[in-house]
Each structure stands twice: as structure tokens, then as C-alpha cells.
Amino acid sequence: MTALRNGFVLGPLIGVLWLFLVATAVAVTLSFATGMAFRPGLLGVLLFGLGLGAAALMVPRLALAAGAVALTALLMLTPLAPLITGPQVSTLSFILGAAMTGLGAALPLAGMLRPLPRGTATRHEAEESILHFLFWAGMVIFTAAVVIPFYVMVMTSLKSQGALLQNPLDFSLDLSKGFGLFRSYVELFRDFNFGSYLWTSFYVSVLTVFITLLFSVPGAYAVARLRFRGRAALSRSVLLIYMVPMIVLALPIYIAFSMTGLRNTITGLLMIYPVTTIPVALYMLQGYFRGLPGEVEEAGLMDGLSRLQVIWKITLPLSLPALASVSLYIFMIAWNEFLLAFMLLDDPSKFTLTRGVAMLNSSEIPRQHLMAGAVIATLPVMALFLGLERFMTKGLTAGSVKG
């Protein structure tokens, strides 16, 4: 173990691992961006990584980076390349690959190995540089894992079927097509009625939010503030109901709706959606109401307001941020809901967006249409989320672990 803590052992070790990660990331990025052939070269990574790890202990950061880029470019012309390029790779991509690999490997590596001395390191120093490595490795892996699917989703929706089948890796865009890039979207809105699905999804979600708040605000207030027998039991059963799997309920609901003719109606959907979100909203809101100072409300009561007036004039204005996060969260649940929409709606004129996207999953409809549908379903909820992230994260943590 002590030998492993030596700077000249640990440094090169981290150097190899990190270079491998960087070379793979660069290869994947460039392949996805240009459609040309890149891959990490294992032997090159091993030798160059060892060298880079050792050099990082002795050479200053900028010199290391410059050297690494130059050497990577040079090695890429030999069989010992850390990043192997295919025959038809353009000069520009070649230079880009060398620069990204060299810089990406050298700069973070210099940071990672900074705590290490040129000899035996203390446990503290060694662990610190391992932690640094883990931090960077985690960053690369997590970012890639999250970004790649979304990148593929957007890019596939902009390609044509032929181009996709020819080279599934080639996500480069033919910008000369201009507006023609959005052909799939135009077709979805024109031929597949997506405008109407978008509208249906929107108003179903908004109505769900309103109905949910209408029911859950008084309920949450009662559970949070008023004393009555059965409060604890009620509070628990809220949580319990929130755990009942939807598929168990979906079956009897399907039967009941089939018999009463509520299937294939938006009204039917609007009867079910709020009920699935009321327990969540109640649970989140009661937590927030509990945190509000009771004295303000008592002052209101003393001044002659009734309880309902207290809720309307004091509690609600004070809990606007909580109402915002709960509303956002419920909107997200309703917008993303798939199972019920899928089971209860058959009539294409009444589809919600998620049901409409599910319809696109057929062998007769090209993939880029499906992906364009996915983008249309994702964009609004993402825009809302990014715009109001502060509320959203608060809403997510405020007692909702549902998914």
C-alpha cells in the first residue's frame, strides 16, 4: 500500500485511467458530432498515460498541456496513438481530436496530481488526489450519460430516414437545408394532429393543477393546523395512498369507464388525474403549512377573521412559493402521465401528447418522427423546469419521492 502511495506510482496510474476516460469521451463526442471513425487506442493510452502521469509531477501545468497536445498529435500519426482515427477523418477533426485529448488529459491531470509529492505521499495527499480523479471521472461519466440520450433524441429528429440508416453515428447537420431540417416537426403538426395534442396536454395539466390545489389546500391546512381525532392516521393514509401502484387502480378504472362511457373522454381523464396528485400535493403542502408561524394566523383569528378567511388572506399569500413548487410538480406529473392516457384513450382526436407519441411507435412511422414527438413532449416541461428550477427543486425535495 505504501508503494502505491509513491507519487511516481500513483501519478502514472491515475494518468492512464484518466487518459483512457478522456480518449474514450473524445472519441464518442467526435464520432457523434462528425460521424467519422474515432476510437481510443489502448496501447497508446497506456504508454502515453504513464508518461503524462509522471510528467505532471515535474512539469508546470501550461507546459504540460502544450506538450500533451503536441505529443498527442504526433502519436496519432503512429500506431501508438491514444486516439485512433479512421482513414477518412478530415484534417480539422484530426486537429480537434488531438487538441481535445491533449488538453482534456493534461489540464485536469495537473490539478489531480497537485497534492502528490515526487516521492512517497502521505495518506492524506494520496487520497486527495484520488478524490480529485474521482471527481473529474464522475463529471465526465455523469455528463455523458445524461447528455448523450438527449443529444441523440434532438439530432435524430432532425435527420432523414435514409441518412440515419446509412450511418447511425452521423449526427452532423446539413445546415444548408435551413428550415427543411424541421421537416419531421412540420409533418407531425400538419399530418399527425400534434398541435391539438399539445393543447389537450396543456389544458389537462393546467386543470389538474387547479383541481388538485382546490382539494388539497383545505385538506393540507386541516391536517397541518387543526386538532382533531384521527389526524395522525389520516396523515399516514395519505402517504399510503400515494404508494398504491397506478396499474392496480387502472384496471378497475378501465372497467368502470368502459361501462359508463367515460373511456375516451377528457372528462374521464380529468376525474382521475387530480386524484393521483392530491395525496402528493397534500403531503407537500401540509409540511409547508406546519412551518409557517402560527402566531400570524392566531392574530388574524383574534381580529375577527374566520378560519376560512385566515386561510384565504393569511396562509395562502404566505405560502405562494410552496404553491408554485407544488403546482409545477403536479403540472409535471400530469404532463408526463402515460399509463392512464394510454389505457383510457383510443380516439386519436382526444389524445394527450404522451398518448400521441406512443402512437408514433410503429414500424410504419419513421424513427425521426418518433424522436420529434419526444422532443415536442419534452421541450415544454424542460423549459418550465429550467425557467423555474429554484421552485422545482424545492418542490421535488419537499416530500415527493414519487416517480
Partner: protein, 430 residues
């Protein structure tokens, strides 16, 4: 309630000594009013939730003991269709047909009765003995029909010239037919066959096993990756806010969008992931990620981890940021190494939230339906209990069997929640 006697007991009770007088016991008028208000506020919620949650739950138990198929959802009823061939000239004999059938192949109908209004100028040559014609109102009693009954009543009719001139048609008035049939869903005929068949099939135990593997690995994986991500973002660095938002993407996006993206990405023929792996020389020929055992199950678990790590990440990060940093400084001064600090200081502090998250996520992963349904449709060894509910009820069209699986799912849930509430009462943190 007018129970004035309660306030004035007939017998004088011994007065308690003054010293022992504490706060008033029992429920006073104010407390009663408060409780009434509380229930008033809660009533709409309780009512609608019972209607949509409790009622279906009872229904699913009921249905699980019934031999119902998808086709039985349509109520059994007599069906009639009328057909008339108009003659060319007045007085010429023509036909009026009533085609009759029982819509069900296994339920009888009793007391079937047909009524119809005939247009003016139409004469029936011979009225069948079970039918009557009063004015223009034509009525027939057919008695009882056995399951699958099918018949045709043919009437010989003549029409007059006025009928032809006016262009009348007996089909213009819809015949009305009625009858009584027991409904398979609401009658009192029960069977335990659904459960017997469920528990005796090998498939069920395989499904159970897949469910357990999926739930355990999905939950633990999402938790560990969430912890890792939270550790990453528990530092200050430029771009942290952007990354935090980015890491939540998989969770916020609609499941249908990301599931189909994964299917597209890992497609064996035109998927980019396969193209990349082949080009990098990792594999020789494309892999069918979602179509072969046991890879499909692993992929589904990976998807589950990918989609739900953001949630654990968010909770764990929130907890981490509430830990007092003084402690870390003290530990640092005492020479603790970073890993020691993590293991001996951070982990014990995070244990509470980790276990609550584990229990909750465990239950919800167990309940998960959409993800697997969209990724593999439950094929290639990825069928979990929830997917099986759907498969039995809709793919096999046996509602009763689906309900039986749903009951099993619900029973598991009850067991989990007992654990959960035991634990939560100790760990009331969330």
C-alpha cells in the same frame, strides 16, 4: 342531539379538590368545532380519494375472484337489426326481416321483448302468434334466449300506393329490444381459479424473481449513483448550477420520450450505440440490447438507475448541505484523511436519508410499470408483476387473471408499507 341531562347530572357528584384541577378534560365545544371544521375541509378530498382509490381497490379484489374476460365487459343484451325490401308496386308482397341475436356466447337473456312502429300503409299478411299489432305499434315477446341465440323473423307484408308515393320505410323507426341478463361482473358467482392458475404456473415465479432483481438493483443502483452525483456537486465550482439542472433532466423529461430515445439509441439495426461499439471494435456484430436474456433485464435496470438517480441525488445533496462544516474542519485538524472523513463523518449523517430513500424508492420501483412496458413490453425476461397485470388483463384478455396479479402486487405493497411505517416512526425526517 338534545341531551340536556348530560350537563346537569341528576346526582350531585363529589367535587374534586381544587388543587387537582388541571386543564379541562374531554372535548369542549371549541375543540368540537375545530374538529368539525377540519373534517369539513377534508371531506372533499377524502370523498374523491375514496371514490377513485378505495373503490377500485375493493373492485380489484372482487374481480380477482371472477371468471371475467375482456369481452365480458360489454353487457349481455339482445341485438336486433331490421331489413326491409321495398316492392315496386302497391299490393305486391314484400318482406320485412328482423334479425335477432344474443350478444353473449355464455350468458342467457330472459324476457326478450321487441317493439317497433310501423309506417302507415304497411300491412302485415300474417302476424306471428307471439306478436301483437295495436294501431301502428308492433310488439313481440320472444321469451328466453339461450347463449349464442340467433334467429330471423320474416314477415310477409304489402304496402299501398300512398306508402310508395311518400317514400316511407319501416327502417326509419328504430326497433327497440329489451331483455334481462345477469351481469358477469355484478352477479354472485365466484371462483378461485384465477389465483389457483396464477400460483401453479412456473411463469409467475419467474416474474416474481425478475421483479425482485429489478427492484433491488434498480433501487440500490439509483441510490449509489445519486450519492456519487451528490458528492460531486457538494463542491463549489463554476458551472455547478448548470450541472445540477442538467443532472435532473432524466427525471423531469416524460418517460415516454426518454424510453423511446433509449430504444432508438440501442436499436440493433439503426442504433447509434451499436454503431459506436462496432466501430470502436468492442463488439463484432450489433447487440440486441433490449431483446435478449439476460441483457434486456440489465438494460432495464440501467435505465431505471439513469432515470431515478437524480431524485436520490437531490435529496442527498440537500442533506449534505445542511451538515455543519465545523465538524469537517475539526476532523481535518485531527489528521483524518478524506476517505475517513467521508466514511466516519458524512456517511453516518446521511444514513437516515439514505434508508428513507431506499424504502420509498424500493416501493416505487416495485410499482413501476411504464418504463419496462415502453422499453421491452415485458419481453426477453423483463416481465415484472406490474407488467404482468397488464399482460394478463389486456394481452391475454383475461381481466380476472390480471386482477389476481394486481391483488398480489397490492399484498406486497401492504407488507412493504408496514416496514416503512415502522421505520418512519423512528426516522421521521423526510
Amino acid at each position: 342531539m338534545s341531551n340536556a341531562g348530560a350537563d346537569h347530572p341528576p346526582r350531585a357528584r363529589p367535587q374534586p379538590p381544587i388543587v387537582a384541577a388541571g386543564p379541562p378534560r374531554g372535548t369542549g365545544a371549541l375543540a368540537k368545532r375545530e374538529a368539525r371544521l377540519a373534517w369539513g375541509l377534508l371531506f372533499p378530498t377524502v370523498a374523491i380519494v375514496s371514490l377513485v382509490v378505495i373503490l377500485p381497490l375493493l373492485a380489484i379484489f372482487w374481480i380477482s375472484f371472477k371468471p371475467v374476460g375482456l369481452a365480458d365487459l360489454r353487457p349481455t343484451q339482445p341485438v336486433v337489426s331490421e331489413n326491409f325490401r321495398a316492392p315496386d308496386t302497391a299490393g305486391e308482397e314484400s318482406r320485412l326481416d328482423y334479425r335477432l341475436r344474443n350478444s353473449s356466447q355464455d350468458m342467457p337473456i330472459t324476457g326478450v321483448r321487441l317493439t317497433d312502429t310501423l309506417p302507415d300503409g304497411l300491412t302485415i299478411a300474417e302476424i306471428p302468434e307471439n306478436c301483437t299489432l295495436e294501431g301502428r305499434a308492433f310488439a313481440c315477446d320472444f321469451g328466453d334466449w339461450e347463449p349464442g341465440f340467433r334467429d330471423r323473423m320474416r314477415l310477409a307484408v304489402t304496402v299501398d300506393q300512398a306508402f310508395l308515393d311518400a317514400g316511407l320505410d319501416p327502417e326509419d323507426s328504430e326497433p327497440v329490444i329489451s331483455g334481462k341478463a345477469a351481469n358477469l361482473l355484478t352477479n354472485f358467482q365466484f371462483t378461485t381459479e384465477n389465483f389457483a392458475r396464477l400460483f401453479s404456473s412456473d411463469e409467475f415465479y419467474q416474474v416474481l424473481w425478475v421483479t425482485i432483481v429489478y427492484t433491488v438493483f434498480g433501487t440500490v443502483g439509483a441510490l449509489l449513483f445519486g450519492l456519487f452525483a451528490a458528492l460531486l456537486l457538494n463542491h463549489e465550482f463554476p458551472g455547478k448550477g448548470v450541472l445540477r439542472g442538467l443532472f435532473l433532466f432524466p427525471y423531469v423529461a416524460p418517460v415516454i420520450a426518454v424510453a423511446f430515445t433509449w430504444v432508438t439509441l440501442f436499436d440493433p439495426f439503426s442504433g447509434s450505440a451499436n454503431a459506436l461499439l462496432v466501430q470502436m471494435g468492442v463488439v463484432d456484430s450489433p447487440i440486441n440490447f433490449f431483446g435478449q436474456r439476460p441483457l434486456a433485464l440489465i438494460m432495464v435496470i440501467v435505465f431505471e438507475i439513469w432515470r431515478y438517480f437524480p431524485l436520490s441525488f437531490l435529496f442527498i445533496l440537500a442533506r449534505m448541505q445542511s451538515i455543519d462544516t465545523d465538524m469537517y474542519e475539526a476532523a481535518n485538524m485531527d489528521g483524518a484523511s478524506p476517505f475517513q472523513i467521508f466514511w466516519y463523518l458524512s456517511m453516518p449523517m446521511l444514513l437516515g436519508i439514505l434508508s428513507v430513500l431506499f424504502l420509498l424508492r424500493f416501493i416505487w420501483t416495485f410499482n413501476k410499470f411504464d418504463d419496462i412496458f415502453l422499453l421491452t413490453g415485458g419481453n426477453a425476461g423483463t416481465r415484472t408483476l406490474t407488467v404482468n397485470v397488464y399482460e394478463q388483463a389486456f394481452a391475454v384478455s383475461n381481466i380476472g387473471a390480471g386482477a389476481a396479479v394486481a391483488v398480489v402486487v397490492f399484498a406486497c405493497l401492504v407488507i412493504f408499507s408496514v416496514f416503512f411505517f415502522r421505520f418512519m416512526s423512528r426516522e421521521e425526517g423526510l
